[in-house]
Amino acid sequence: MKKIVEIKNLTKTYGRKGYESVVLKDVTMDIYEHDFIAIMGPSGAGKSTLLNLLSTLDKPSRGQIILDGEDVTRVGNRQLSVIRRDKIGFIFQEYNLLDNMTLQDNIALPLSLNGKKSREILEKVDKMADMFGLSAHLNKYPYQLSGGQKQRGASARALITEPRILFADEPTGALDSRSSRDLLLSLKAANEKGKATILMVTHDAYTASYAKQVYFLSDGQIQCRLNNKEDRKLFYDEILKLLASMGGERE
């Protein structure tokens, strides 16, 4: 399988020299095509920092991030925004749909701004809406949608450009359990059928159990990794057990 992201000795420190606090310490991992990875860890473990570095929103102190064969830590700002546009998709905890346009226009936004043909965009929007169960809501404005629908809309918007990798920052953080499940099932479908590569940061074991692998981050280092063996419920228990043994908070 093709390697999409290669992370080598990634270190991030904050503060003045001599008084630095280290947030990430020599993190090394590889992400392959069609992976669905969840990163778990307690607050302050460095989850968000790792995600920010990977999604090029922040620069590491040391180390390399090779995205699709290109070291993004050595690329200028202009080039970075092109990389973000073409290769990376984002979902945030707060849905970040634009409230002045319909869901359809929201999903179409990245493609329409990139000069794709209207017909092609419309077809793709329909496809994504279908995948995320939003076909009936396309003409609604965000304020007419539930939180879960908004988050699925945001996911559809993130995936419509067919990014090499999708980064999700606590995507279920603001959702109730039912909406969370709908969203995670959609993401899973996108991963399995749509062949999307997903990296998700979460502190919620239930959310993490939908992933194929779960990495545990603590004190800026990857402590261990669990692989999902087909059964989600078993995987969920496994995650809970591990969290208990690590002394992290249980939910």
Binding site: F92, N96, D99, A108, L109, L111, L113
Partner: protein, 632 residues
Amino acid sequence: MSLIRLTMSNFKRNLRNYMSLVLALAFSVFIFFNFQCVLYSDSMEVLNNYNKDYIDLIVHALSVVFGVFLFFFIWYATNVFLNQRKKEIGIYIFMGLDNKRIGKMYALEALFSGLFSLAAGLAAGVVFSKLFQMVLLRISEISVDIKFSFSLKPVLITACVFMAIYGLMVVKGYVSLVRSSVLDMLSGAKQKEMKAEPAFLTAIKIMLGVSVLGAGYYCAVRTGDIDSLAYALAAVILVIAGTYFIYGGLIPWLIRKLTENKQYLYQKQRNLWVNNLAFRLKRNYRTYAIVTVLMICSVTVLGTSIALKQRYERSEHFRTTYTCQVVTKTEVDADEIQKGIEKENKVKYRSSIPLLSLDPDKLHSKYKSANYAITSESAVKAAAEEAGLPYESGSLRDNECVHLTHIMLMSFVPEDNEPVTIGDQVFQQIAESNVPYLGDLQNGMSVYVVNDTQYKKLQLLGEVLYLYNYKFEDPENLDASVPYLRSLAKEDPDRFVGVNLIRTEDKEGAWVRVMYSLCVFMFATLILACGSIIFIKLNNEAVEDMERYRVLQKIGIQRSTLYKSMKNEIRFTYYCPFVLMVLTSYFSIHAVGTVMKEDLLRINVFSAAAILLLFSIIYLISVRAFRKKVLD
């Protein structure tokens, strides 16, 4: 921390947010102060000697206009500012402040910015007041020596008027804050939801807008003479109402249609800015309508004043066709008089014409004018040839005549072609001519031109006078020849009746020029105000948009794309009112032109070009300010 200290620190911290308010307020203070300065300056006193009543009237009318402008401008600026601040102020509620104290804090903050703006506006005003007066008088073509004088009265008046209006607005804001709930405040800066309007309501609005505006245009086209003045009034009301409905109905509908056409929407950056426009028009249409109407008004006022000036210059030209006119009882040698004149002055051209001065009883026409005269066609032709004036009419029939009129500043009287009875003979008026064959005397007389046979027949009805007209090379030097000209009638009263001296500097006309320059000033002010209203609105929207643009950048939208989209949106905001203004002002200026009998198309084009230039400059500044707020 005491309330005052909190307020002070707020003010310092938010100086950038306050900047647009302070600038807007300072601008209005500046304009008002300059206007007051003119009123209380020495130059105005000099002008008042010319024609006090007219100038007083103009100045008062303009004072009212500026007062109203100041009121609305301050209202708008403070309102925008209050909404912008509500959210932040609302957060203090969580810190345990009650509404009253929050209201007080707002009032204090507003007071600081008000005083600051007043000081800034006055300071700028004092610095520029002399320049301003100089420009004003230069445009008026009036030469008055302006000393740099500083009097306290305009300062006091400006400060009082400003603080009174501003104080009122601050109190209004205070009351609105005290009365509003926490939720209101927190969502004060938030956008309202996009609610769909029932289709029939939209349809009614669109139809109303189009038909009312169309009716307004029709009325403007119909405006002409005295009978159709009601049309002018109807046109004003209909255009204002129509503009309002167009922004409330047709334009939002069109843009909504654009957002529904995905083939169009998904190209270029339209998905972003067209949607944004559609969303905002619902909230902003009143502002757009006000700006458009304000622009139409200012262009029309400018058109009127320029027409008045043109008309005045034309009548001035008419009056000064000759520099002096000698009236005699018998034919005299024109060379003899010229010789006398040429001792002091050179004659540029001259003409002579006999006039049959009629007893008013002998003439029956619609108007009772004290001075009636007739002259013959061949005499007019000869005089026209001598003075180099055009003569158009062909040969007159026995029952035809041409009425010689003069140029009036404003005339709602239609050309009248009713027959006139002179003696027992009825004449059909076939034309009116305002070519100054008789020069200044034509201003005070009604003269009919008949053919030579009829003239001979009618000679018995009155006394023939002979008119000898001279135009000097240097009309300014008329006074040198005055003793000679006066002596003619004194020394030889059998032949000479008198002399009409026409001086070039007519102080009567000063009011026209003062009005003209004040109107130009008002035009510039109002257009600038329109530009700044849009600017303030955009600045306010930029604050709302910061979050949106941050999100867009985060999801990987290129800055250059966002920049283009932003530019398109801002462009629409400035040029949409402009386009509607150009369309409407064509009709309004046309109406003014018809009433004033002047061709004003050029003025229409030039004023539109001036506004376009100004708006383009403000647009560019706006784009920079917006970009700084949302993209940097």
